[in-house]
Symmetry: C2
Subunit: 383 residues, 2 copies
């Protein structure tokens, strides 16, 4: 096991009815910015529940935080927070809204020329406004970590700080009943691949982390296909919601090598072709596993045996069967697993590689040896 | 899944060499009470490492916190902390030292007549001195939760508060190399039974919690017997240490029913016969599982199949085999699994029941239906 530090300060309030308790989590004298996205929270009742809970607080609103939140949008919120002397940010939405609010909370306290430097120059922040969340889309884990991603023009930059861990996050599975099927499926696959990036590397005798990761993968593969059939099943929704949080609350990745090549290659597919994030992962991950099966051999066998209960056959057969099962799972979640299904041909590969090079993505993977040549082979396997 | 709140604020610093980083975790202007037990930390080098790390801090010492820490001992430390204006407590030791320090940190700020009322009357505390720990014995999980137990005369009382979660805990597996075999084995069994108390009840569709619990049980049963053969194996020690923390850092028990009958009956065996805590658990747990096998049927089957990989046979055969495997595991850890092995005969059962009654332990278990008659049947099964 590798050395590690683990510190997750977010308080989780989980279950039906928990939004009612929101006011207990924010001191009465705080002026709250309620920030959200395109307005689905007005349709599913979450907005009303939050406003009712905060009836004794001063609340102002900021809406319109888009998927892959844009710097210019977020800077409008920063302006508003400063002008209105807001002292608590409540993010109501999915990963994009929460990520955006983390940036807002950091940028409000930023004293340099240009808050974009936080992202671009990875400048260290010294403080941030307190932040809480009501999660409406289980997927990214942003509700219980310090990570956020912000987009400006063609640049999509990530940042991480202990200071922007939400103080609390409310996870009520019933608010996810009304999600479009596509978003539910994407969320399950996103969480699944988050776990795989932290698990499917090489063994380092981190037995607990492995078992926890396998438990999350098993849970997601069990409940994912079921939820598409019975979208208002409380327990299925609850298990997806808690799994997605635990997939990226930093716990399972402590003390182990991490990969993230699938994510980095996937980001370029989103950038070039506007493909959904989870869709990129479902296409790239199987190709990564095939291309890197020798390096990842021991963990692939463990994955085959423990997650998919494949006990028969040679090592090679087990590995192949496990990758096939992974692809089948993505197909069951109604996602494509090949570039061709998304009308992307091999002619595009040079463009994708150019983007990887431009963004410095030339030493990917747990050991840094996914160079451009290997990324090309991965993309060819994904055709 | 049941509704829950989860909030664990302890920062974990895990791995060989982490004690060196101790000074980063305590502000330079703090006056530190370094509290410990019988002095094993002077033999295993932990004391020297801690003092070296704190060379720029003001440090005073308090030693002699005993197993099952006594109120009178702890009150001496409270006096010292007040007289010396200590403002940070560093607990260096196992569960007893950490539990004791949690009480000290609460009692120092207590403004009522008699700090024992915190325990006896379960009075709510409003603040506590900040606390950090260096763990030397993996077992109780106290390094990452808000629980503590204090003894005064014949009374052994527990308390729990968010305010006494350690701010940080340093877990260096190498400091456990020199533990006596008995303490290592007790720690593994203690952690195992902590998981069982939160897992082996009835299913509530908490799939992730079940998988995490099963992962901990599998890890402990794999590494426990091995560590007795190779006590200086870093990875085995690391897995035991991290498992014991995760067994009772409150995560796996969220959203599920919890039992704890084994612990409550076990406490009386410690009280009457001075038996080690883990030894009481190894005797009582198999008897509880046998006596309550109908109520716990579904989870016992799941436990048999997933933790012990028992796939053949009727349900009854699976349940029996799983309980047998559990007993065999305790025996491999060189613990007794019957009262008779500890020279306790059926003549003692009335005394044990009297103590349970005296302490109000008449509605134990996840559904409160372990009354004195059932406790008697459990004890008879344990003979």
């Amino acid at each position: 096991m590798q050395n590690f530090e683990f510190h997750n300060t977010t308080k989780i309030l989980f279950g039906e009815g928990k939004i009612e308790t929101l006011a207990n989590e924010i001191p009465k004298d705080k002026k709250v910015l309620l920030a959200y996205g395109g307005g689905s929270i007005k349709k599913n009742g979450v907005y009303d529940q939050a406003m009712t809970a905060l009836k004794d607080h001063k609340v102002i609103e900021f809406s319109g935080i888009e998927p892959n939140p844009h710097y210019d949008t977020l800077m409008k919120a920063v302006e508003l927070v400063k002008n209105e002397n807001v002292d608590f940010i409540l993010a109501v939405g999915g990963g994009s809204v929460i990520d955006g609010c983390k940036f807002i909370s950091a940028a409000v306290h930023y004293e340099g020329d240009e808050p974009w430097h936080i992202m671009e120059k990875q400048e260290k922040i010294e403080s941030a406004l307190p932040l809480g969340t009501i999660l409406t889309l289980p997927a990214t884990g942003s509700e219980s970590n310090g990570n956020f991603v912000v987009t400006r023009g063609n640049e999509k930059m990530g940042y991480s700080s202990q200071l922007v861990f939400p103080q609390f996050s409310i996870l009520d599975p019933t608010v996810t009943y009304s999600l479009p099927e596509k978003q539910t499926a994407n969320g399950v696959v996103d969480a699944f691949v988050h776990v795989m990036e932290q698990y499917l590397t090489h063994p380092v005798q981190a037995r607990v982390q492995d078992r926890f990761a396998e438990g999350l993968l098993q849970t997601l593969t069990e409940v994912g296909p079921q939820i598409l059939k019975t979208p208002e099943d409380y327990d299925l929704r609850a298990n997806i919601m808690w799994s997605a949080t635990l997939a990226l609350n930093t716990l399972i990745g402590k003390g182990v090598p991490q990969d993230w090549a699938t994510h980095m290659i996937g980001h370029e597919l989103t950038g070039l072709f506007g493909m959904d994030h989870a869709q990129t992962l479902a296409i790239v991950l199987p190709a990564v596993l095939k291309e890197r099966h020798e390096k990842k051999h021991d963990k692939l066998i463990q994955y085959a045996e423990r997650v998919w209960n494949i006990q028969e056959g040679s090592d090679e057969e087990k590995v192949n069967a496990a990758i096939e099962k992974t692809e089948s799972f993505f197909k069951e979640m109604k996602l494509s697993t090949r570039l061709s299904e998304e009308n992307i041909s091999e002619d595009e590969i040079p463009n994708i590689l150019k983007q990887l090079e431009k963004h410095g993505m030339t030493e990917l993977g747990e050991d840094g040896n996914v160079d451009l040549a290997m990324s090309e082979r991965i993309l060819r396997r994904a055709l």
